[in-house]
């Protein structure tokens, strides 16, 4: 892949008090690719993405977005540059309407006419949101809320989308829909996507490249088609030859 790098993470470490949640994490994301970070619960995946998006301060290391150093910048400044973060557990503004949720994504560009065109475009992609346009975000189902937060992120016109556990708490059918959507966003919009997943089976179907994170460290990195399933599962669980139903699922 000779595409230029959109994101470079170099030696990123994050401390929670005295606990090191991410240790010396380094990886890069090529423009137009889908990159997956997989790993068990508590591996430091969310911490890594949140630090990249500016939500928590890194204790060491640097993050470059489009070649520009964004380490330590506030989240709103990073968002304006075209990096959109969709945190875990959806974070819909529950008391605000679907319309207002979507509008929030457009305000930072300050172009009212284009915001209306963008909303029309987004509603075409997410017809279910159209029928609930004037309802409060909190009234939507889990799947609809996941669609709404992705749609809202698209309203910021990002070049890089950071998705934290997009399948968490969703029915399998909805998870399929979400991944289908993410795949089509890459093909049709040329969007670069970095996805955190515990549910590695799903994400490995769409990812070009993957990193296995455990205990705050990257255990394994490589292109999806060059890694053996047994190698991935060993990195994921940390025990050689450890095979169970989960591990098979993780690598299928």
């Amino acid at each position: 892949m000779l595409q230029p790098l959109i994101l470079e993470v170099n030696g990123l470490s994050v401390m929670y008090g005295r606990l090191k949640a991410a240790r010396d994490v380094s990886f890069a994301v090529a423009r137009g690719s889908i990159v997956a970070i997989i790993g068990p619960n508590g591996a430091g995946k969310s911490t890594t993405l949140t630090a990249i998006a500016g939500g928590i301060k890194a204790s060491a290391g640097a993050v470059k977005f489009n070649g520009e150093n964004i380490t330590g910048a506030p989240p709103e400044a990073i968002a304006v540059k075209g990096l959109s973060f969709v945190p875990e557990a959806r974070h819909v503004f529950a008391s605000m309407t679907v319309e207002e949720n979507l509008l929030l994504g457009s305000f930072m560009r300050g172009d009212k006419a284009r915001a209306e065109a963008d909303i029309a475009q987004v509603l075409q992609r997410f017809p279910r949101l159209k029928s609930r346009f004037h309802e409060a975000g909190g009234k939507l189902s889990g799947g609809e809320q996941q669609m709404l937060v992705i749609a809202r992120a698209l309203m910021t016109r990002p070049t890089l989308l950071l998705m934290d556990e997009p399948s968490l708490g969703l029915a399998p059918k909805v998870v399929d829909e979400v991944y289908e959507l993410l795949g089509s966003l890459r093909t049709s919009e040329g969007l670069t996507i970095l996805i955190n997943e515990q549910n590695s089976r799903r994400v490995l179907k769409v990812a070009d490249e993957l990193h296995v994170l455990r205990e705050g460290r990257i255990q394994l990195s490589g292109m999806r088609n060059q890694l053996h399933e047994a190698t991935i599962s060993q990195a994921y669980f940390g025990i050689a030859g450890f095979v169970n139903a989960e591990a098979e699922q993780a690598t299928r």
Partner: protein, 304 residues
């Protein structure tokens, strides 16, 4: 019957005043988890902005003698400037601090402002004649109602409608509501944290200036602690209405105003001087029955 109607008008105008204070407290609490005890001193400051510093018992009026529009505009400008400055100097450095730390910082700020006023203007309360033509009574269906009370209610309604329109219809209003519901997520969507917080302080400054003018016009007296006592009632209105809910703040203000006015009118004369004790007793009973206030706020339960 006349007493009842008269008391009702009193109650609504007092309640409107409390509602304006409760709204300011509720607005900052929603976004910053700050209970701003310095807000009362913003109100005091707005009143003193009308005067020139002087040691005499009769106020030396300066801005207070200007025509209506420049007067309102200047007082608003001064209080807004102070409110925004307080954010920049004090609260901006405490963005990651816990709510108790913010609360204590606001107490400290309150004392600083109060003492600055004491140094500049002296400790004595002075009488100020602001818009005295408004104290004349008008006749409504056999009831004598001071014009000022009508102005007070009308001003509150105009401010409330303005605020609601701002919060519902403008991009900054929508951003503010988002920030008060989920501040971190709002920032990931490009909402500028410092700007939204500054805006909330500015709006609380405008509301404080409005309260100062209405109180000075009504009472005709300015004192260094006038805001502090108003603030207590504004604060309990916010708590009764439901911390973090703006509509709750308005309802809470009206409830406290009504309770206070009716106790003033209908308590036996012997205990009337202890009216505030009864009002607070009522508040305690109310909170025992409904601890989350009139309007329950979901975001609050998750965060605390």
């Amino acid at each position: 019957m006349t007493l009842f109607l008269q008391t009702l008008v009193d109650a609504i105008s007092l309640g409107s005043l409390y509602a304006l204070i409760a709204l300011s407290i509720g607005l900052l609490f929603g976004i910053l988890r700050l209970i701003n005890f310095a807000h009362g001193d913003f109100i005091t400051l707005g009143a003193y902005a009308l005067l020139l510093p002087s040691a005499s018992t009769v106020a030396v009026v300066f801005i207070g003698g200007w025509p209506l529009v420049p007067l309102i505009f200047s007082v608003c400008l001064i209080v807004v400037a102070v409110a925004v400055l307080c954010d920049r100097i004090v609260f901006k450095h405490l963005r990651l601090a816990s709510p108790p730390t913010l609360l204590i910082a606001s107490f400290a700020l309150s004392y600083v402002i109060q003492n600055l006023i004491l140094i500049v203007y002296g400790a004595r309360s002075v009488s100020v004649d602001l818009w005295s033509s408004l104290t004349r009574a008008v006749d409504i269906g056999g009831m004598r109602v001071p014009l000022l009370q009508l102005v007070l209610v009308a001003a509150t309604i105009v401010l409330l409608i303005g605020l609601v329109l701002f919060l519902q219809k403008t991009r900054f209003g929508i951003q503010m509501r988002a920030a008060s519901e989920d501040f971190a997520m709002a920032r990931y969507l490009g909402v500028k944290a410092d700007f939204v917080i500054g805006l909330a302080f500015a709006i609380s400054g405008i509301l404080a200036a409005a309260v100062s003018l209405l109180v000075v016009a009504q009472a005709g007296v300015v004192s260094p602690t006038m805001g502090a006592s108003l603030l207590i009632f504004g604060f309990i209105s916010t708590v009764i209405g439901g911390m973090g809910s703006l509509s709750g703040s308005v309802v809470g203000g009206l409830v406290v105003g009504i309770a206070s006015s009716f106790m003033q009118a209908y308590l036996p004369p012997d205990v009337r001087t202890f009216r505030d004790a009864f009002v607070f007793g009522f508040v305690i009973i109310f909170l025992l029955i409904r601890p989350s206030g009139i309007v329950k706020v979901k975001a609050l339960e998750e965060r605390i």
